[in-house]
Structure formats: C-alpha cells, structure tokens
C-alpha cells in the first residue's frame, strides 16, 4: 500500500512538473507578399470518434504545436465536430473547422468546411465531391495510395480541390510516398486552372502528434473563408514528418523563405523528466 502511495506521488510530481514545463510558444504569423502564411492540419481525429483528445484539448494542443487552423474529421460522422459547433470555445487560439473523413472501401476523402455528413460508405467519389462542394466545402483525396486510385477517374480528379501530398503513411508503407507524389502530379495536370492544393496532414488518432505533418497556406485573411479560398486556389504546400515540403515548386520556394515557427521545445529536460516520473509512477500503481 505504501509502495502504491509513493507511485501516486510520482505520478502527481510528474504531472505538476510537466504542467509548469509546458509552455505555449508565442507566434507571429509571417507574411509573404500580400498573403499571411498559416500552418494547418486538416485531417484530425477526435473523441467521440476514433481519436483520443476531445475538441477543446485538441485546440490547446494545436496552439502548442504551432498550428493556426485544424479540421476535425471523423470517419463518416461529425460527432466531435458537432460537439465543438454546439458548445464551442473562446474566440482566441487556432481556428477550428468542421469536416469529415469520407470513408469508403474504395477511397478516403477529406471534406473541410461542411455542415452535414456525407455517407461515404454508400456513395461513389464523384457524388461525394459534388456533395462537399454543394455544402460550400473543399474535397481533398486522403492518403491516396494506389489501392484507392481506381475510385478516382480523371473526371473526379479534376473536381478535387487537392490531395494529401504529405502524410505519415509515406514513412509507414513502401511505395506510399511515390503514390502521393504521383497522385498530386496527376491532380495538377487535370485541374482546369492548375490550382490543385498540396495538403500535409497528421491523420492523428494516437500517434503521430497533431501537426506532425502539416499544410502551409497563403491566405488573404485569417478566417475559415480565407482558408477555404486558399485551398481552392491551390496556394498551399504540404510538409511531411521530416519537414520536407511538397507541392508546386514555386510555392515551395516561397514557403521555404517564410515558413511559420513550429512547436518550440522549451524545458526539454523537465519535460522528459516529467514523462519518466509519470510513466514510472503509473506502472508502479498498476503493479505494486
């Protein structure tokens, strides 16, 4: 019993130290000519759903990770997004956008800026894109590995607003990185005016962390409308988990010179000490 109490003290000490070591970095939004450069993550899973953090915790985490905007994208559901819409939060902090990961056996597609569910399990990709556009949102091909390509004929690709050119699956599965690059190139070639957005997303459930892979956007205004306009116009660059940029070479060069600050690693020693104390304490309370 004494051992367990000691372990609880370790847990508490770890959490308190971690709380004090946990600083939210101050960020200035850089400018590139007439545009503001924002950092976003448009493929985020929350609880309720198959994510871990509830929308309010995600927002705090987005601020720590140096994100200006993120979208809550449940699979064929808007439970977490609806929770945020209904109860919301304060005006400050990162923009929170509602969306969905439209999930079909043949394809996955991110919808951002939508207001109702698109039942992806029962609609072809063309109908899903049309529904997203009818709702005023943007449609982005999610982690387009080769097994999803059959769902996207040239007509559908021409209607898409962009594709995930940077995604953690590029590191997980052989051939995924090449497939993402090839799909993005195809999207650019098919887009009527060449505007096809390169998106970087974390697809966070438990790991990797929020914003591990992210999108840099050149926006005219820091608002949901400004974000959607930038995606429609293709003024985006995807950044993968290593920080390598993907997208239009001209925009990549531009962002390289104006890349917003990412997460700031403050008090690294204390953060790791807090993690070690907490983890040791937790294991102790389970076993002792």
């Amino acid at each position: 019993m004494r051992g367990r109490r000691l372990c609880w003290l370790l847990v508490l000490a770890g959490l308190v130290i971690g709380t004090f070591a946990d600083a939210v970095p101050h960020r200035d939004i850089p400018r590139a000519g007439e545009y503001l450069v924002l950092a976003g993550d448009f493929h985020v899973h929350a609880f309720p759903g198959d994510g871990t953090l509830h929308p309010w915790a995600l927002r705090a985490e987005a601020a720590r990770q140096g994100l200006d905007v993120y979208a809550i994208t449940g699979h064929n559901n808007r439970a977490a997004a609806r929770l945020w819409e209904r109860f919301g939060g304060s005006a400050g902090g990162p923009l929170v956008m509602s969306g969905e990961e439209i999930t079909n056996p043949g394809y996955h597609m991110i919808a951002v800026g939508t207001s109702r569910v698109v039942r992806g399990d029962s609609v072809p990709a063309a109908a899903a894109v049309a529904d997203v556009h009818a709702q005023g949102g943007v449609a982005i091909a999610a982690h387009p590995v080769r097994r999803f390509w059959n769902a996207y004929d040239d007509g559908v690709v021409a209607q898409l607003d962009g594709s995930e050119a940077a995604h953690p699956d590029a590191k997980r599965f052989a051939g995924a990185a090449e497939a993402f690059d090839a799909f993005f190139a195809r999207g650019r070639a098919r887009a009527a005016d060449g505007s096809f957005a390169a998106i970087g997303s974390s697809d966070v459930h438990i790991a990797p962390r929020l914003g591990a892979s992210r999108t840099y956007l050149l926006v005219r205004e820091r608002s949901a409308a400004g974000v959607l306009e930038a995606i429609r116009a293709g003024r985006t660059v995807g950044s993968d988990v290593d920080g390598t940029l993907h997208g239009d070479p001209g925009l990549v060069r531009l962002i390289e010179g104006h890349r917003p600050a990412g997460p700031v690693a403050t008090h690294q020693f204390w953060r790791w000490a807090a993690l070690a104390l907490t983890w040791a304490g937790v294991l102790g309370t389970v076993l002792l």
């Binding site: 309720p48 198959d50 871990t52 309010w56 992806g120 966070v204 459930h205 937790v282």
Partner: protein, 189 residues
Amino acid sequence: MLSTDTHLALHPRATYAALLATGVDGRWSTFGLRVAHVTVLNAILAGTAVTQRASLGTAAGALGAAVFATFIQLLVSAAVILPFRSRTSPASAAFSLFWAAHLPWSLWVVATMSWAIIAGPSFSLYNAVVSAVIASGWTAVLVTAFGQVVLGLTARHARLLATAHLLLVWTIVLSYIAWASGGWFQLLP
C-alpha cells in the same frame, strides 16, 4: 511487494479464495476509488501518448475517452455479476473483486501507449487492437476464476461465463470501432 491485483493476475483462483477468506472491503466507496484509479490512469496514459508530454492538461484532454471506456466496463461488470444470486459476497464486494482483475488490460494500455510514444509515425492502430488478444485471453482466465470462486459456479459454467464476457466485450468494442472508423468494412482485411 507486489499488489494484490498483481497476485490475482498471476494466481487467480488462489488469490480470490484468499481474499474471500480474509474478508473483502465491500464498501461502495472502495469500489469507487478502484474505478477512479483505472479511469485516471487510462486518461494519463492516453493523454501523454497522444501529446508526448505529461501534464495535468494532457491528462484532462483524454478524460472523456477514459470515462467512456470505464462506463462500458461498468455495464459489462453489471452484466456479469448481477444475474448471479449464487455469489458468495455482496454486490459491492463482487464488483470490487471483478475490477481487481484489471491488470492484463492495464498492462496492455501501458504497453500500447509506450509503443505509441516510441514508434511515433510508424505506430499502427490496427496492430495495437490485434495485440489486445493477449490481454483478452488473460482476462478470460481471470473471469473464469472469478466465476468459480466468487460467483460459486461450476468450472463448466465459469468457462461459459468467461466466453460470454469475452463475446460481450468484443461485440461492444468492435461495434464502437466500426462506427468510429466509418463502417464494418474498415475492420475487414
């Protein structure tokens, strides 16, 4: 040195018998503390894993998911315990004894969340769910012992109870995963 819960996980029948012989703390408050312990640990582990930081805020961020998981476990506990009038202890004590068998799942959560922190982008949610088979099988052994010693069932009926518990848990878990991941087709290879 090791807790009663750990002894129970290693020697379930003997430990359950010893606990009943020495008298079980049958207060609901004791059971409440046990439930709170499991819930808080799950919130700390999940919040820490997903943010790769330990803080009061990260633990609070995963509290919703942890409370939901606890609620499901409470429903399953009630389904296992309440129908059996043959049990050898009051309901509150039986609930406490049933929740004392949490170690396989608690260790699985610790292992999975540690793996998430270490593996980062290469962490596989699918493999994590598959690895739960070990915790599930271990728990079935503990539930069998619980059925025999605490509920007073025969060995055969205790095994049936463990099977029913296993089916109930996985039906609920897989149904939730199917909803949360977009449909049952997501769970098929």
